[in-house]
């Protein structure tokens, strides 16, 4: 079990409150992108492909807090861009901690050691550095298209742990990943002492025949099955065990695109973190005026057919935990036994 009890309790009471109130669509994790600027240029990363004047801009802390208050999600994930390049990241995090929001600061960790030494952050149970790690040295440096980043990230992790911060990792796996190398990577992260790991398949979209869509899903399920079917007791995952079972093909879920709403320079992104089909001015407008029936696997939308990404399906998994005794029991059993 790697999610702290206080965080579990906060999420559980939030979800049950929403259900008690009969709220059909509610957010679980706010994806807050204060800037698009980054110190890496990973292949295929759409977050940094903007003209210079956009990359130079960033949200104010007040805009960020306005979005956090408006949305009300108990967890705030701060991706980007690279959030450690945000000039007011220390003040933003302090304000979020004061609001008792659980924060996942998603960083490539290149600047982490420097920011920690500068005293930008204070350890808190509400703050976790979520370090982008796509595998061992060779795989990670290739994924971020730059040599040496893995070693810098490891340095950052060690420094953060030494100073008493919570540290997790987030890993995106694409088709072709070597299951045995991924398992070695899990061992390496546990050896480092991280609190837990987060996994997600990468998002890919291409127009393809039905059979190819089916095969892609099958290949993804097989990959995660080979990685997770005999997990080591020492591995800790900082995410819903039901989501991991979904990745392995043991569960069939529909997407919850409003579960992880995204706010950035352009407003509230429709419909989800991955697809960029327009922007709403307010969170309520996003919820009320997005044509949700056009998204998710059942919609037949080509862009959604192969998607198994955490930002759409982890919220579904969390909801299942609280939707039935069976979902709750399965979550407890998987959490206690460590078996996905």
């Amino acid at each position: 079990m790697s999610v702290p009890l206080s965080q579990m309790w906060t999420v559980a009471s939030y979800v049950l409150t929403q259900r008690f109130r009969g709220r059909a669509r509610y957010p679980l994790v706010l994806m807050l992108e204060p800037l698009f600027r980054c110190n890496l240029a990973c292949a295929g990363c759409g977050k940094i492909q903007y003209p210079g004047q956009i990359l130079r801009k960033h949200l104010t802390v007040e805009q960020c807090l306005g979005a956090v208050d408006e949305c009300g999600a108990p967890i705030v994930s701060i991706p980007g861009g690279e959030p450690l390049m945000y000039p007011e990241i220390g003040r933003l995090v302090a304000e979020l901690v004061a609001r008792k929001k659980y924060i996942y600061l998603c960083t490539n960790a290149i600047l982490l050691k420097e920011r920690l030494e500068a005293g930008v952050f204070t350890p808190s149970k509400y703050l976790s550095f979520s370090i982008h790690m796509d595998g061992l040295r060779e795989e990670h440096d290739e994924a971020v298209c730059k040599d040496g980043v893995f070693d810098e990230a490891v340095q950052g992790i060690r420094e953060a742990l030494r100073r008493g911060f919570r540290v997790t990792t987030n890993t995106t796996l694409f088709e072709g990943a070597d299951p045995e190398r991924v398992r070695q990577f899990f061992d390496a992260m546990m050896d480092l002492g991280v609190e837990g790991m987060m996994l997600s398949p990468g998002y890919s979209y291409s127009k393809a025949p039905d059979q190819e869509h089916f095969l892609r899903k099958q290949r993804a399920n097989e990959l995660f099955h080979r990685i997770l079917s005999s997990p080591k007791r020492r591995w800790r995952f900082n995410q819903s065990p039901l989501f991991l079972q979904f990745l392995m093909g043991k569960r069939d879920y529909e997407c919850t695109p409003w579960g992880n709403p995204t706010y950035n320079l352009f407003g509230w992104q429709r419909p989800c973190y991955l697809l960029q089909e327009g922007y709403a001015e307010s969170f309520q407008d996003l919820i009320d005026s997005t044509h949700w029936e056009r998204y998710g696997k059942r919609s037949g939308n080509d862009k959604c057919r192969d998607c198994m990404v955490h930002c759409g399906f982890e919220a579904t998994a969390v909801q299942e935990t609280f939707a039935s005794w069976r979902g709750f029991r399965d979550t407890v059993v998987a959490t206690v036994t460590g078996r996905a």
Binding site: A43, Q53, I54, K57, F174, F266, G278
Partner: protein
């Protein structure tokens, strides 16, 4: 692999098969600055980040080239959109990167000395 096509440098005018709403959609998807040419002869150069064709008065939203804005421009004021800025996404897809890596590896194998 088919080469990725970019709209960079394209200066279309709306036509029967290419309505203004479609042009604005293309500008919204384009990862570079565009020039929004207005009916009064003026133009706004910048990044189109949003549009709503279903609104009672359809509009687009953009940050200008200096980062000012957002500016909201009704479709009714727009004559056309030209793709004048550099396409920042051109050739940077994951598929393109993968193809480059595979070509590099193939070249390394070809250049390796014979045993």
């Amino acid at each position: 692999m088919e080469a990725e096509k970019s709209l960079e440098g394209w200066a279309p005018e709306p036509a029967a098969g290419l309505p203004l709403a479609r042009l604005v959609d293309l500008a919204f998807d384009y990862r570079g600055n565009t020039t929004v040419v207005k009916r009064d002869g003026t133009a706004l150069h910048g990044y189109v980040f949003n549009r709503d064709a279903d609104a009672p008065a359809p509009y687009l939203e953009m940050f200008d080239a200096e980062g000012g804005g957002p500016h909201r421009v009704p479709y009714s004021d727009v004559r056309t959109v030209h793709f004048t800025g550099k396409d920042t996404a051109a050739g940077k897809s994951y598929a393109a990167w993968l193809a480059r890596k595979q070509a590099e590896k193939a070249a390394q194998v070809a250049d390796a000395p014979l045993p």
